[in-house]
């Protein structure tokens, strides 16, 4: 904990965004990735909520890392997460009413997102405040990016629009905004990323497999 080599902050950011992308690489927190991504806007809102919670949780856990007894760390982390999620939930309910009606349940469920607790456990509890904050931001941005990407594909294919603006002038593939579409899009995107990585970056261990 004391004289670790100074972590490269930029690398921490890109780590979460690309090489350890929460959705496509670590295959964590998949529920919201499928659930709220019927449009870019919902994906963006969810992503921002997770980004805020994650950064604050990482900072808080890192600040208290010397005080939390390892035996009770999981309940302690959950309490910290639940506090920030409650705040986010209330802010969203107050300022983004229509979106909140659609995805309120999933905002409350941020509290059990595996990605947040796993970063608190794996990173923030062992690192100083600044790297932890950057790790939170990187992972949060990676999550946000994934949600926006999935949301974009689904909205474009399902409603023919992006961010609510009509682009294709029709509804080419209605199935994409139905539940099944979310699974298809994520499955296909994961396969695509695996293929790209395999083809151009020489078969590094491909993503997926749940949280082992």
């Amino acid at each position: 904990m004391s004289d670790e080599k100074k972590p490269d902050l930029i690398k921490l950011l890109t780590n979460g965004m690309f090489s350890e992308n929460p959705v496509f690489k670590l295959a964590l927190s998949l529920c919201p990735a499928v659930a709220v991504t019927t449009s870019v806007k919902n994906g963006l809102l969810m992503g921002v909520a997770v980004l805020c919670v994650m950064t604050m949780v990482n900072i808080t856990v890192s600040l208290f890392r010397g005080l939390i007894n390892p035996k009770v760390r999981i309940p302690a982390y959950i309490l910290i997460i639940a506090t920030y999620v409650s705040i986010t939930d209330m802010v969203m309910a107050a300022y983004a009413r229509t979106a909140y009606k659609e995805m309120g349940l999933y905002i409350q469920l941020i509290v059990v997102f595996a990605i947040i607790i796993s970063r608190a456990e794996l990173f923030a509890s062992k690192n100083k405040v600044v790297p932890s904050a950057f790790d939170g931001i990187g992972m949060g941005l990676g999550f946000l990016g994934a949600l926006v990407l999935v949301g974009g594909v689904r909205e474009l294919a399902g409603k023919g629009s992006l961010m609510g603006f009509n682009i294709l002038g029709g509804r080419p593939l209605l199935i994409m905004i139905l539940p099944a579409g979310g699974f298809f899009v994520i499955g296909l995107l994961m396969g695509l990323f695996n293929w790209i990585e395999d083809r151009y970056f020489g078969g590094v261990k491909s993503g997926g497999g749940g949280h082992h």
Binding site: A27, L28, S29, L30, C31, P32, V34, A35, I74, P75, I78, L79, A82, T83, V85, S86, D89, M90, G104, L105, Q108, L109, V111, V112, F113, A114, I117, I175, L178, P179, A180, G181, G182, F183, F184, I186, G187, L188, M190, G191, L192, N194, W195, D198, S206, G207, G208, G209, G210, H211
Partner: protein, 194 residues
């Protein structure tokens, strides 16, 4: 009254199936469905935890939190109830079935941080269900989740033998298959209206 409960049961088990139309519990869903045996053990544990946590949360929510206007604390309180109860279930399973406990290992601990288990009390509170309705909702959701796990485990045992393209092995193909099942479950929507 009974009619109402049957409706809730069917709605939560099939029409609003947690995995296929509410998209919850996916981590566990993809994690334990590699083998039928673990899938079955997991569904039994989940159903039991869901029903009991639905009942406990209902009692706390309606008898303590509503009268005291503490509903804004529901996320923290519900997860506390679930965590405490899961810890208990964990200990009991370790005693009565060590073999199964050994297999489920990490997932049992992860039950606490699982969205379905928390979603049941939250949905019950949002829908303002009464006590029996809440329990039925927990039972129905558990049945629906078990159904999803068993279907998926059977399919994945077959996928093991299939020639899947390299890029799609593992998670991607599991997602596509889930999408196909979800499509089938879409046929149930509008079966009954609650």
């Amino acid at each position: 009254m009974t009619h109402d409960l049957i409706k809730i049961f069917i709605a939560s088990a099939i029409i609003n199936n947690f995995v296929f139309s509410r998209y919850l519990g996916l981590c566990i869903f993809f994690g334990v469905t590699k083998r039928m045996e673990t899938a079955v053990g997991m569904s039994a544990t989940f159903t039991a935890v869901m029903v009991i946590s639905a009942a406990l949360s209902w009692l706390v929510y309606n008898l303590v939190m509503l009268p005291l206007h503490l509903t804004f604390l529901k996320i923290i309180v519900f997860i506390g109830i679930v965590a405490g109860f899961v810890q208990g279930a964990d200990t009991v399973l370790k005693k009565i079935n060590p073999a199964l406990y050994h297999k489920l290992g990490i997932y049992l601990v992860l039950i606490t941080t699982n969205c379905i288990i928390l979603a049941v009390p939250v949905i019950n509170a949002d829908e303002k269900y009464n006590f029996m309705q809440s329990i039925t909702m927990g039972l129905g959701s558990g049945a629906g989740f078990s159904l999803a796990l068993v279907i998926m485990a059977s399919i994945r045992e077959k996928i093991e033998l299939a020639a899947v393209p390299k890029a799609f092995q593992g998670m991607p193909i599991a997602f596509i298959v889930t999408g196909l099942i979800a499509l089938a479950f879409l046929g149930f929507s509008g079966l009954i209206t609650v």
